[in-house]
């Protein structure tokens, strides 16, 4: 394996095993000894290498910086949350078939601010928590809901099993009052993927017949931009984010 370089080096009249040998002398690749022993070519190689290594290091750092959002988001979940905070993106105007009445789109939903979560009603773990969280939010944000400022929206990603009846039953399990809490399913089967992709939600089979997903509450502002993604247990944070999204935009609109 070392033959090519060695023959070349000896052709140049250099000390073969002190320069480019790939063989067993372990110190042979040392850049310092290389530049001393190999003379002109070695020095050129050392310079080329210094430049190439610097470039490789800079490129590596730049790529690492880019794919971790400046060394802040090492997971997909933190990446989407960070994006919501730093540069809220518009969510496509997706269609939803409501459990209560007919079809609507995100832009047409009542409520300046929407709190969106994704569920499947057979879910034994997370969505039960999500359901009770929404019931609590319903009570906490009752004034905002009454004023048309905030609306809770639960979207099922299992529309084959979750019909209007299942969705209404799910809400009824958690809350006696349906006011301000809409449930719906993506209009067509293919729409589920579009809904999930728009919010950055990943659903995978949990191996027990159910699903695992990155459960969270997604705050959509009046312009239907995704402005915050919060943990489901963070009720205070969710309520605050909802009020802020409604309030800040109101000021903004008034200023215009």
């Amino acid at each position: 394996m070392a033959i090519d370089s060695r023959t070349m080096e000896s052709a140049r009249g250099l000390v073969a095993n002190r320069t480019r040998s790939n063989g067993p002398d372990l110190d042979s690749g040392d850049g310092a000894s290389l530049s001393i022993a190999a003379g002109r070519h070695g020095r050129r190689d050392a310079w080329c290498t210094a430049i190439a290594t610097t470039l490789a290091f800079a490129a590596g750092l730049a790529i690492a910086h880019a794919v971790t959002d400046g060394f802040e988001a090492y997971t997909l979940e933190s990446a989407r949350r960070l994006q919501a905070l730093r540069a809220p993106a518009s969510v496509p105007d997706l269609a939803l078939v409501l459990a209560d009445d007919g079809r609507t789109r995100l832009s047409g939903m009542p409520g300046r601010v929407l709190l969106v979560d994704f569920v499947y009603t057979r879910c034994p773990t997370y969505c039960v928590a999500l359901g009770s969280v929404y019931a609590r939010l319903q009570r906490r944000l009752a004034p905002e809901i009454a004023a048309g400022e905030v609306r809770l929206v639960s979207v099922t990603f299992d529309p084959a099993r979750d019909g209007p009846a299942e969705l209404r039953a799910y809400r009824a399990r958690h809350s006696a009052d349906p006011a301000g809490w809409d449930l719906g399913r993506p209009a067509r089967a293919g729409d589920v993927e579009r809904w999930l992709a728009a919010f950055g939600v990943v659903v995978i089979p949990d191996g027990l017949g159910g699903y695992a997903h990155n459960a969270a509450v997604h705050v959509l502002g009046p312009d239907r931009k995704l402005v915050a993604i919060l943990d489901t247990q963070d009720i205070d944070g969710i309520a605050k984010a909802a009020r802020r999204a409604a309030g800040r935009q109101a000021v903004h609109v008034a200023a215009r």
């Binding site: 394996m1 070392a2 033959i3 090519d4 370089s5 023959t7 070349m8 480019r20 790939n22 063989g23 067993p24 372990l26 110190d27 042979s28 690749g29 040392d30 850049g31 290389l34 530049s35 070519h41 070695g42 050129r44 190689d45 050392a46 080329c48 290498t49 430049i51 190439a52 290594t53 490789a56 290091f57 490129a59 590596g60 750092l61 790529i63 690492a64 794919v67 971790t68 988001a73 090492y74 997971t75 997909l76 979940e77 990446a79 990943v202 995978i204 949990d206 191996g207 695992a212 997903h213 990155n214």
Partner: protein
Amino acid sequence: MLPRVDPTRAMLLAAGLWLALVAPPVRAWLESSMALHMLAQLPLLAAIGYGIGRAWMLSRADSTAGRVLAGAQSFNAGGVTGIVAASFVMVLWMLPRLLDLARLDGVVDAVKFVSVPLAGLAVALSWPRLPLIARAVVHLEVIATLFRFGWGYLAADQRLCLAYLADDQQRAGELLLWLGALYALAITWRPMFGTAPGFIRPDPPRATGART
């Protein structure tokens, strides 16, 4: 070290293995679990590049391949450039965010299928030129990285990868720790206990094969 094989056969073997790994069913299978993704697919892809690199180094100095190699190696004195580049590639692909993206996004996966073999290739071209101290540093860093990631995945109290389940993450973390321990054992065996029990051979003897 790899058994001595004909360079052409080694290249064909590597290409065949790469194609097999790219094949949708195999790809889906190896990416279906985090442990398989990290501990089978990534090492195999790197090994493919490593094999190609070793075969490349057997090429005649006056052949095109040999001249290209010599040209590339003039930017790789002491093997530094290659090791630096390969380290970035391998560490980045072990991050949960990129594991997820590789699984969920075909374009990202394509980048992985090219960059990881290139990292293996870089190691093959660089390792023999690397000074002993630098080799030790690289070994240490590999062990530390395996432990760091292993511990991180094992100790995380929630799922770090959206595309993989929590128990899969635990298993991946555990296996990374085992791999790190085995790696450390394999590396320290010779200096500590003398001749290896067969599975690590000293550096390949000079002038093996390559008389072309």
